[in-house]
């Protein structure tokens, strides 16, 4: 299992860079993960997405559907791709510390 070094702490991630233990997630780690997705700085709009994802996940145990994400953040999907070029699943969910999305590819 690969690891990332972050603030001296070793954190297990999978090959795709998703952290393996969601409980280790925090906002600073998010900033670190963002860099792995090519995002230099997390703006307020980024945070809006990340927080919504993280909170939704902790409330319902699942990632929200994209329609929900767009509705709740008020962002068009295109804009979310601008914020997270690798998209909501690979990009935003990873940064928000959610388990890796599965299912239909």
């Amino acid at each position: 299992m690969p690891e990332i070094e972050y603030k001296g702490q070793k954190i297990e991630v999978d090959e795709d860079g998703f952290i393996q233990d969601p409980s280790l997630w925090n906002e600073e780690l998010a900033e670190y993960l963002a860099k792995t997705e090519g995002i230099e700085e997390l703006t307020e709009d980024h945070w809006k997405v990340i927080r919504f994802l993280n909170e939704y996940y902790h409330e319902y145990g699942i990632a929200p559907m994209i329609r929900k994400l767009c509705k709740e953040t008020g962002f068009k999907l295109k804009y979310i791709y601008e914020l997270f070029p690798s998209g909501p699943a690979k990009g935003a969910c990873k940064i928000a510390g959610l388990p890796k999305p599965t299912g239909c590819v």
Partner: protein, 395 residues
Amino acid sequence: MADKETPLLDELEKGPWPSFVKDMKRMGEKNPAARDHLRLLEKSYEDKLVHWKHGGIVGVQGYGGGVIGRYSDMPEEFPHVREFHTFRVNQPSGWFYTTEALRKLCDVWETYGSGMTNFHGSTGDVILLGAPTENLQACFNALSENGFDLGGSGSDLRTPSACVGPARCEYACIDTLDLCHDLTMEFQDEIHRPMWPYKFKIKIAGCPNDCVAAIARSDFSIIGTWKDALKIDQDAVKEYAEAGFDIQGLVVDKCPTKALKYEGGRLELVPEDCTKCMHCINKMPKALRPGDEKGAALLIGGKATILQSAFLSWVIVPWMEMKPPYDELKDLLRRIWEWWDENGKVRERVGELIYRLGMRNFLKAVGLKPVPQMVFRPRANPYIFWWPEEVGKNG
């Protein structure tokens, strides 16, 4: 390549059908990933077990789909397939190519990938099999420079595909290639940025022969058909008869609705009985042709077995004219997606949603008029729902 490396697979070099093993070996000599790929497959043949890890989520900038992530579960032993992602490259309508275009694809894939491909995947894309994560963006860039784009994957619109249609088929009732290309271009966003409960597939067949298996494999099947009477050239009928072809036995008797009569050397049709099954036309292409009033039937819900059983698509529009810019069709698609996206559960195909919520809700939401062509037969149960406005106050 060492001879003993893949003793099991070597067995598949024998026999008359072209051997993928021979071919992979050749490629393996040039490309270590192709070699490890074959070796890993040999390992699966030994173990009777797949040696790919679950899942994988990789991609290129700006897209949510088009690349399937894949990692070997034996990265040490097979280092060149440690990361082995596939591209789904959107094929040109009807799978027509110039050799020039094909060679470009090969060149890109020589540079960035394993050199192995599928022409094509069963949705219709060109599948480029196996590239490491670090090559993905560059490979995509190169594809794009050479005029190719990715197809769908994930919960999005999957790459539409179409039969050869008017390009080489006398039966085509609609311009399958143009329609396929037009829809693909119109819905680039839907193809590249997954946003729905699950996948959605469109397939386009020029006539009821359905040479792309649209009715079985697409959530939305567009199948060419006609409205008026099929056309009979009695002289050509005679020629068939003279050539000894058994018109009565092989054509007339097999018409599902007994709409044909063959008497006195003439083949006569009862037009209102014909259900446009194509059989007679298929058997006598020189004598029979579809009618003039051409268009398409639209069907919804086709899919494989997960979760609620396989569905064949079912009719929702018995006949629609199919002329560019296809606005009526596109509007309908958008209304369908809107309803499905609003009401569907995660991983619920549109057909399953209709099953769950009932056709009445679907038809109302997308604004389609119920017609008997939508069903083989009406309901056998009396469990009829009424809209509140249809009944008086309760009590």
